[in-house]
């Protein structure tokens, strides 16, 4: 499938290479291609530079947000949430159309350091903002409550654990479920909360997530919902 991935940070890279490894035709979107390719990383950095990353994945292409959006039959928004609305504007309504967009972004505001606050919460959410700004786009909020290394390889953790999906379009959610199933998620592990307003709940899980990360000093954890047997 043709997929456009917005964002060239670690989340975008990890998602894009997983999709590439599964045989999808992936175009990563960024604001300024030349600038992104010129970005260096420090010696010993945990991730390669984007240029080296792309060299290691020759089937993937890097393009503008608009080109990645035009390419994708499905879009994955893996940008940092703070700028996500502007990214979608750059992608363009014409290119986004009525496509399915998996929105992984969280409205984390690191401007005052760690732990971050949320730039939108409580009676609104980033998922809803994006959906309101692009009413034809089929926004499915999901994967935003765990580290990207588990998003694409959930079986690294023992036993069942969960992710939360929400969105207004049932067919779009089914398409996202199928994609995530190909990442290794069992059907029962993907909890459909309902419409896009439920993004308030999942985005507001982040403040606890970052505090648990601070406590464990390790991002390799996820939430499991434990229910009574039977």
């Amino acid at each position: 499938m043709k997929i456009g991935v917005f964002g060239t940070g670690v989340v975008g890279q990890v998602i894009a290479e997983k999709l590439d490894s599964l045989g999808h035709d992936v175009v990563m979107g960024t604001r300024d291609v030349a600038q992104s390719l010129a970005r260096e990383v420090k010696e010993g950095a945990p991730r390669p530079s984007l240029k080296d990353y792309l060299a290691a994945h020759p089937k993937m292409k890097l393009a503008t947000f608009a080109e990645a959006a035009a390419h994708g039959e499905v879009i994955v928004n893996a940008t940092n949430g703070f700028g996500a609305l502007e990214v979608l504007k750059l992608a363009g309504e014409k290119n986004l159309g009525s496509k399915v967009m998996l929105d992984i972004s969280n409205p984390l505001d690191f401007s005052k350091g760690f732990p971050p606050s949320l730039s939108v919460c409580n009676t609104d959410s980033l998922g809803e903002q994006l959906q309101r700004a692009f009413p034809q786009l089929k926004v499915v909020k999901g994967l935003n409550t765990l580290t990207c290394f588990l998003m694409v390889d959930p079986r690294q953790l023992p036993g069942e654990h969960h992710l939360f999906l929400c969105g207004n379009d049932a067919a779009a959610k089914a398409e996202v479920r199928a994609l995530l199933a190909s990442f290794g998620w069992a059907d029962a592990e993907m909890i459909d909360l309902g419409d896009i307003t439920n993004a308030r709940g999942t985005e507001q899980l982040l403040p606890l997530w970052v505090r648990l990360y601070g406590t464990f000093q390790d991002a390799m954890f996820n939430f499991r919902i434990v229910r009574k047997a039977g």
Copy 2:
């Protein structure tokens, strides 16, 4: 131990009767004793009237917030969070002193229906508000992320599941841990997040909790943090 429990709703009742069953000397606090005792419940209601409840637990007493605060060596705040600050003012700084207070309350605002919004969140929390208003009081936020029926009987769920504690005083947290251990919580199930600002994270879990409750139509669930083995 002498314990004052603020709140006569279902959370207060379930906590108070658990403490009573464990041999503690419990005084429940309310705003207006006569009014609380006069409150009737509909026939077939899931819970008895407060009067009948107290008749069934003859060792427990009902008193004002101030009297319950004066009685308790430890306080449990099981009021609805919306009015919690006022409840503590009624209890009185003199009676609260430098006691340990387990704060279970959540700042849920149901004024616009279900799901509720939060009356404080993001860069502040109810736990911090209470701690700021009563700086000598040793506020420990905890138990606020699950139904009261599991708070007092966690082994109803299969396997390990978690609760989150936070507060500024290490000895106060140790005292709360000991109390909760007597409810059936294993030490490893009680995750200490750090100081009281971490209440932001646990209170903001409630928006997801209420949505999961809406999805399952069942409150008998809790969060388990799954980590990599080893």
